[in-house]
Symmetry: C2
Subunit: 307 residues, 2 copies
Amino acid sequence: MSILAVGSVAFDSITTPAGSVKDMLGGSATYFSLAASYFTKVRVVAVVGEDFTSEHENVLKKRGVDTRGIEHAKGKTFRWGGKYLENLNEAKTDFTELNVFEKFQPRIPVEYKDSTILFLGNIHPALQAAVRREMQNVQLTGGDTMNFWIQGTRQELGETLKLVDVLLINDGEAKMLAGQTNLPRAAHHVLAMGPKALVIKHGEYGATIFFREGAFGIGRHPFRAPALPIEEVKDPTGAGDSFAGGFMGYIASQEELNREVLKRGLFYGGVMGSFAVERFGTERLQSLSREEIDARFEVFRELTHLE
Amino acid sequence: MSILAVGSVAFDSITTPAGSVKDMLGGSATYFSLAASYFTKVRVVAVVGEDFTSEHENVLKKRGVDTRGIEHAKGKTFRWGGKYLENLNEAKTDFTELNVFEKFQPRIPVEYKDSTILFLGNIHPALQAAVRREMQNVQLTGGDTMNFWIQGTRQELGETLKLVDVLLINDGEAKMLAGQTNLPRAAHHVLAMGPKALVIKHGEYGATIFFREGAFGIGRHPFRAPALPIEEVKDPTGAGDSFAGGFMGYIASQEELNREVLKRGLFYGGVMGSFAVERFGTERLQSLSREEIDARFEVFRELTHLE
């Protein structure tokens, strides 16, 4: 099944202990699409400016991503600059230039309307809801959000959460959204807001999926996937979006949605996140093979597997 | 095989979001011994004051712990007071009264000398080393330490690390000890200091064991065990010592030391830590059954197990 991904395309300027890059292709839709492209067909809806060249677009096209939904607007592409210091889990933002992204109104090509799986990247929750409502054939919706929307657009986010089947956020976002410092309690609060499942990403410690009672007919026991202890983290940017791409992409590639598929999806999410951070920007995600991905999946499995 | 545990016995005054307790029996040797007692015979070496009654000692005796190595000294037992605020992972110390613990010189009863497994709780590294050197029949030594010793007694700690087979510390301690912010790199630095294996405890995210190349003849791939997402964390005090007790206790109960035993030990460590935090002090660890422990082991296994 093909996935429709809606999100940002950006040029990132990043400094980490491993070096610096300027105006490197990034954005949530970019990372998500590249990661998911190893599992299924991906269609993308985003907006870019006049500085987004065919060379940039080819990064996605080479991976078979359908880019007809990328709107080319007058002006400059969204730009973000940030630093990761000693603590690679947290970025310090240097600047955010929304540019064409400020007025982004997702326009879905008619050819995309038969998509059955939807991923709502980290954009204004009202836009996420509008996209979801427009997509009548969707059977599973994944979504992301962040502190900015949790604090600033609480009510709209509440409406959007009723339309999302699987929400993917990190520990801090889950606790903020729920107003709870205990993680499993926060998870149950968030699930009561609408999603059937909640994936909480723990960065270098992996991720946990919590289920609403009766969701997907699979009981409510949580499941946890590890992350690989990686010595060479070059650039953490996009790890969460790559995680989402691996998770949703794997699910889209399966005929049935059951507990085992969601579990394996969580492992594939970790795998794609672990590849993403090995190089700056999307470099590593551009040139993987399914064999490399499955080999790392086995490493992840071995990491926690008891005989 | 029986374990000899050397460490502290204390009376803790603890405040958490779930409530407050005063002068509750605690200390690293206490938590460790109770947790390990479900797997093997435990002998303990520690010092207590005149306020340590037979009622306190019976907590250990009821679990079959050999308390002949507990020295009764003039004065008061070690006391610690602390608060856990919203972030249950970190305690704010209110007071530390070393009392009889200040002059603690571990004296090992002659009946303990045949112990083959040794756990060196979090005490001065020079004392840890002296105990290890005195125990000639020991085949496996586990050890703990903390920031205080890493910063204050670096050289002595370096000597002790050469005598420890498995070091159990948390993320922050590992990074401080190695002078490295990347966890797997920190692990390799620590392993170069002496231990054959390093268990890094991630609190609510579980634990990872790293192996020195060739150690135990099992290769150097790390292994990670999850922690259970727990809704009711009443009191995190002693979680790390209970983890160590479950880990070392399980290992001591096995005939052979191989990769699978170390992996299962890591799971049992998480299991005992998860029980410890459910009640204040050692309450939960006093009245478990092996059936309850094994049932939770299965829950932990299911938490990350792929078909």
